[in-house]
Amino acid sequence: MYLAEGRDKRVKAILEVGEWAGTVKLVVIGSSGVGKTALLRLYCDHEWDPRLATSTIGIDFKTKRLLVGDQPYKVNIFDTAGQERFRTLSASYYRGAHGVILVYDITNRKSFLDLEGWFQEAKTCSTEVVVLCLVGAKLDKAAQGERQVSTEEGRALAESHGAIFYEVSAKTGENFREPFVGTVQRIVGTPGLLEAVRRKPVPDALRLNRGDYYTKPIILVSLLHCCLSG
């Protein structure tokens, strides 16, 4: 299986027609400030500018075209806020996700320790077959001796959860494509995954409460109706 990103003209033509072999949905999660948005912005928009780094509020969405073999896929990527209070919201975006990319900052031990909770969330909120990818970000800072999480630790954690593992840097661009490409490749290579997710109903716990004001009157009216007509 080879991979290219719209470099030759034929590939570009296929991608521009807008006919997809499939749509892949990824969700990016991880603690606040680890660099989720920076990674995504570099991958999707080819931009990296630390001066433009703002917090993500709620949920953001980006899209990217990607060839796997000679098949064009549309990759929809959801970027989520790191703050705990927004988690209820991002949970609803796991619906139909094929892959989850978990990001931590290799210079921030706490963001690595938080991963237990993030793995937990990824597993409870999505299908069992979902592809997981663990990403240690800010690899460029390792050279300055700021590393707080070793590569081996990261890899071991990833293996224990059956996840793919990369260390990346949005600043130098090192490995920045691999997490996305690797995840999509594995999703496409897993028979039935793309179809299976589509049919899975939303778990009840994830439905956001729309309030009871629609159902209550309906029940009352139908009861009344039945009583009167009965």
Partner: protein
Amino acid sequence: MEPSLDRNTANHSNATSTADKKKEAVLEACRRRDLSALRALAESPGGFLTDSIRQQAWPILLGLPPSDIKPEADSLSSWEFLPRHKDEDQVQLDVNRAFIYYPDNQTDSQLAHQKSLLSQLILSVLRQHPYLCYFQGYHDIAQVLLLVLPSSVQLPAVTHLSLFHIRDFMLPSLSPAIAQLRLIPDILRLSDPPLWRHLSHTEPFFALSGTLTMYAHDITSLGEIARLFDVLLAREPVFTVYLFAAIVRSRREELFDTPPDEPEMLHSILSKLPVPLELEGLIAEAVRLQREVPPEKLPAWKGISRWSVLKTSNGRGGEENEGARSVEQGRMYFERQVEELRWEKKKARARKWVWKHRGPARMVAVAVLVGVLAVWLRKGPLPGPLVSGLGYLSGLLARWWR
């Protein structure tokens, strides 16, 4: 050549005199603490025009008691000695990413200074009101007040804003914020049914950063966000929601070009503000929308807590208080809503439990019903229609239960 030059000068001086007149009108309204006059001026093009006028008007709109507006108020004192707030780490992470778009041309040391001021401002509000929960985006709002207002009123201003405009977003749960977003589809349904249908598969979460941060996260020019704050502070908090509905409507064509079964794309379009942002037109449209479909007409309005900022914003102190609002009042509303949320959570848990055990629960319910009926029947014969009616009702209940 000369006549046109003359006309230009005349136009120019006309414009200046209109602006001067408006400035005078705003200042006069401030002196009288006339909220309705300020509101009308805030809605008219340009709002309060300059930051020096805003420094007079915003504290009044925020309901600061006159004693808090004194220039010598030593507002930031002693916060450092108060216990840490649980969200301080998050505040630090966000403050580090503040001042992205404005002010311009700052040196690194100036930027660092601004960030430390912002951090102090947020932490002093949070430490003095430890019950408030910080949310990402709060720092964007505080940043605007920091840059526009003089340091002496910043703390009371941010405190009042927190308690009377964005209180719902500072509760322990996000659900009151989501309940506000649910008003947007309702506004569209009543004012633009085809557009509402087109967006019916898209959750209104695209409006989250706009409404949560009073657009401070998304508007990248200080002049524009300050002008927008004029009207957002002058009107009821629900206006942010109407403004978003106006923004959605202004992008009809773009939205109709995207198929309705691509909610991700629609979300993506709507989660960024249009460029350029026609603020004046949007404000006027939002005012019109709110008049056309007032909040009480929206079904989702019933989903808003009675303690929400949306439903308690009319309770201004009145004439004798000169429009001042007390911090205690805001705290009381906050605590009532926390109580309500706790209750909601319990109810949801109970509902979940019943649903999980619905088999046995159904049996118990039917058994109890039969028992009650039996006891009732033993007391003496009941009229026939009542018995059959009850039977029908219990059958119906059982069917619904399933």
